[in-house]
Every structure is written in C-alpha cells, then in structure tokens.
Amino acid sequence: MGKISNQHLIEKLTAKYGEQISAISEPYGLLTFEATRTVISDLLAFLKNDEELKFNYLTDITAIHYPEKENALGVIYHLHSFYNNVRIRIKVFLPVSDPTIPTATLLWDGANWMERETFDFFGIQFTGHPDLRRILNVDDMTVFPMRREYPLEDPNRVDKKDYFFGR
C-alpha cells in the first residue's frame, strides 16, 4: 500500500537508533517495534519531521498490561504518514513501579485526550502533559481499571447472588 517499504524504514531507524529499537516485526504488514522511553520523544519527533518519512498523523495512543512481564505496562503508538500512506506501530514497555513516559502533546495536540484516556485506564504518567487528569472515569477513582488485576465485576457486590434468582 505505501510508498515506503517496511525494509527501508527498518534500515533507516536502526541506523539512527541502533540498540534502542528492538523486537521488530510486521504483523499483517504493519511495522511494529519496541523503543525505550529515553528515545521515544526524540523518535516520535524524528518520525514526524523527517523529510522523507513524514509520519504527520497520530492515529492512536493506547496501552496494554502484561502482569507477568518485568516491564508490565506497554504504551502503544499508532502513527500514519499521509504523504506515503504508511502506518507504523511503536511500543514502549514500562515497569509498574515507575510508569512515566514523556508526553507527545508537544508534537500533536490530539495526543492530549488520548494520553488522558491512557492515564485514566492504565495509570501511565505522561510527564509534561498539560492537563493529566481522568477523562472517562469519575475523578475520585483510586484504581486504574484496565489493568489485569481488576476483575470485570466487583466481587463484593451482593445484588447478584444466586439466591435472589432462586438458584
């Protein structure tokens, strides 16, 4: 689909960032790799401003939680280059004890609510974000509900006990 091949992108990025980029794969043709949080803001700025690549559009920011891993929380960026019609997926894994990552709001204004949503559900702290507070959940919520340790339903609730339904 795109004008730039994934191979070319990989070469260009590994030449610049070397060891900081790992786990490169291409599920369903979408180039995916992991980066570290020390380079992520520089990497995003490079991808956005590079004359050839021009990943000018931030499609999405979200997160994922793998409780069994050492760096359990992953922040996932989807970028899109309108000029070349190529998408790219970047992941940054962070430890639960210190889930901080630089914000992307200085590059894209649209990152504001996406990062607020990610903070709201996963507790990722985006340093430098202008207004990092909960967005969909209530303000006085104390947990980050999309983390795996929180069950779908409150196990303490009593209104759904079997005896109410004659079971």
Partner: protein
C-alpha cells in the same frame, strides 16, 4: 536531546469565574441540554453571548466496553460495537468482523463484500442524514429534517429486512452474513435508490443557496488542515478542511477498490463546508450502492458467507440434525478453536471518521486487549478550545456539524 517539558503543569478546569471584576458568567451547557443531542457537558465562561473559554466533561455514558470485550468471545463483541456510533451501527459491526477476519486470515467472497458495501453505504447515508438534518434544526429550519427522517426510516426498514433489527443491528457474522438478502431486501434497496435522490435534491435546494443558512454557517468553526491533522481529526470534518484522507481509498477494505466514486473535499473546514461535504458524500454513497447492486448480479447467487466452519456459527437446524455442524457449534461456543497469537489494527471509514480496532490476541477465546479508536472521542477534543471566541449559538451549530455521538465518545 528531548525538547519536552519534564514536569506536569496542572491546568485544572475553572468552575468559578476567576475574573476580579466579576464580569464573566459561568454557564453550564449540558449534560442534558436539548441542543447538544446527547450527554455532553461543557462548562463555559461567557462574556455576554461570547464564549471566553470552555472545559469539556465527558464520560457520562461510559460503559467500559474495552474491559467487557476482554471477557467475551469474538462473536459476542459485535453487540458492543453496535453501541458505539449508534447512528451507523452496521459500519461498526462490519469493521469488527473484518478485524477478526484479518486476524484469522479469512478471505470473504466478492458477493459478501458487495453486500457489506451496500449495508455500510446505506448506514453512512443514515448517519449523514441525521447530522445534516439536525444541523438544519439547530439553525432554525425544521422542515428539512422532517423530509430526511422519512428516508432514514426507509433505510432502517432495509436493515430490518436484512437482520431483523433497526438501530443496534448486530448485523452479519464473522465471515459474512447470518442469512442471504431476500427478494424484498433487494426490492427495498432499489426502491430507496430510486426515491431518495429527489428528496435529497429538495433538501439541498432548501439549504445550499439559502442566504439565511449560509450567513448562519459559513465561517463558523473554520479550521485549517494543519490544525485539523494535528488534532488527529478524521472523516468528513477533516475532508472539509481540504485533506483528502478517506480509509476507503487509502486502505481499501471490503473490495472498495472495485468501485468508482469520488472523495469530496472542502476548502475552509467551516460548518457550511461540512454540510455540503456530507450531502455530496451521500450522492457518492448512492453511486456506490448502484454499482454494488450491478456487481452482485454477476456473482454466484446464494453465497453469503465465507467457508470457514471453525468460526462461522452453523444454522440451528443443522446443529440439531448434523454431527459436523454440532461439533463446530460446540467448538465455537466453547472457544476451542486455535487463533493466532498476534496483533492487528484494522480501520474502516465510519460515519464520523477513521474507526479503528486494535486487537491483541493471545490465542484464547477472548481478546487479550481490544482498543477502539473512536473518531468521535478524538474529534471532540478540539471542541472546547475552538469554542473560545465564538458566540454561544455558533458553538451549538459547530457541535451539530462535528456530529459527535455520545456512545462513541464515551465507549
């Protein structure tokens, strides 16, 4: 190395006016204001009729769909997608089905693709009809809305014929449709594409060159393409600014590459441009439906799903009477089918923009993580910043033309 700020600078919303002279008024617009067409709250600071600043509060109908989706098998998530953008739920349903098909590497027959295109374009028309009709109501022209609502009713009758439901359709299955289009469906579609153009023409005649409407809408909420892309806008409101980004063309799905249609773009990105653009998109959708009806004629009859027994639920009478169907039914329902351990992002052009599904699968019966890239959520975040300096009545029509759907906003 990095040019990022490294400390959080809290910028909490101002709920009481902070002007020393006490000249500004705080106005609570919403959450249940009739002019906002949904549960949206905006706390505005007003200087007379002009908005100084605003803060959006969202989440009033948050239903934790992403959490629920982690506990549901793939085929049961369709009903969750219904409730995102409920004005065009078939697009959401099929976007989800196509995501799963991409994950499982299922190739759907051409006839299924064309059937999907028909249903998706009909729902795009329904979505745009609502948006443009309501925009007319908000500018004070009620009659256009009434003309259009009758046509939306006819589209819903077609959906009813295809799947039995009207608003939250749950249309189709992974791999195709649950049943073939019957004769009455085709008759109704043909009747619709014959009767709809004159009504849309009349609607355009009422609005497009109407001086009151133009003066009311042109220049309101004008956005430059750079700002719109910076805010990750997508869909009609992005195209109204002049960016020709449409997922149907940039990354064709469901055989959209077989169709001949145009992507209208605007120039100024104001409310008037968005209105004209949505009207033009309805004409293009009609064109696509006409072509799809022609193409379906040439495809083998009676094909309405891909041949994937491991994922496509067999009909009930076969489950009761046929050993093989019973086994597959059991395997699907109990989730004993192997699925690849990988991740997939699939986007469709929804009524409001790029509707993306990011699915991470760990091989189990439910997704490990499912994220909806909801266009309304991302489009809406510019609303409060762009309202600064607007008149209150302009901010109302600006919200109508953004076509924010509360279900999609809050997920």
């Amino acid at each position: 190395m990095s040019n990022f700020i490294t400390e959080i600078t809290p910028n909490r919303p101002v709920y009481t006016d902070n002007d020393p002279q006490g000249e500004l008024t705080t106005l609570n617009l919403g959450p249940t204001h009739p002019a906002t067409h949904g549960v949206f709250q905006n706390v505005l600071q007003m200087d007379g009729e002009r908005i100084v600043s605003g803060v959006s509060t969202i989440g009033y109908i948050h239903r934790a769909f992403e959490k629920i989706a982690e506990h549901r098998p793939f085929y049961q998530i369709t009903t969750l997608t219904d409730r995102l953008n409920y004005c065009s739920s078939p697009i959401n349903n099929m976007g989800w089905h196509m995501t799963v098909e991409k994950l499982l590497d299922i190739k759907t027959p051409k006839r299924v693709d064309y059937m999907r295109v028909i249903v998706m374009e009909l729902s795009r028309i329904a979505d745009h009809l609502i948006c443009n009709g309501i925009l007319g109501v908000d500018t004070g022209a009620f009659s256009g809305f009434l003309y259009l609502m009758e046509e939306r009713e006819h589209i819903y009758e077609i959906f009813e014929e295809v799947c039995g439901a009207r608003l939250t359709t749950n249309i189709g299955r992974i791999g195709g449709f649950e049943r073939d289009f019957n004769e009455i469906t085709f008759q109704k579609i043909k009747k619709f594409i014959k009767n709809f153009p004159p009504i849309l023409k009349e609607f355009e005649a009422l609005f497009n060159r109407n001086r009151i409407f133009i003066e009311r809408t042109s220049g309101v909420g004008a956005v430059s393409p750079e700002v719109a892309m910076g805010y990750s806008w997508s869909g009609p409101i992005l195209r109204a600014t002049g960016v020709d980004y449409d997922v149907r063309v940039n990354e064709p799905y469901a055989s959209y590459e077989d169709f001949d249609f145009e992507i209208p773009v605007g120039t100024t990105g104001d409310v008037y441009d968005r209105f004209i653009l949505r009207n033009e998109e309805m004409w293009q959708s009609l064109r696509i439906i006409e072509q799809a009806l022609e193409k379906i004629e040439k495809e083998p009859k009676g094909v309405f799903h891909a041949d994937v027994p491991e994922f496509y639920l067999p009909p009930k009478e076969q489950v009761y009477n046929n050993m093989e169907a019973l086994i597959y039914h059991f395997k699907i329902v109990m989730g004993e089918v192997e699925t690849p351990k990988t991740e997939v992002y699939h986007a469709v052009e929804g009524g409001n923009g790029e509707l993306g599904f990011y699915l991470v699968n760990d091989g189990g019966r439910t997704p490990y993580r499912l994220h909806f890239r909801r266009p309304s959520f991302i489009n809406y975040q510019m609303y409060a910043p762009m309202s600064g300096g607007m008149l209150l009545s302009d901010a109302i029509i600006n919200m109508s033309s953004l076509n924010i759907i509360a279900g999609e906003l809050d997920a």
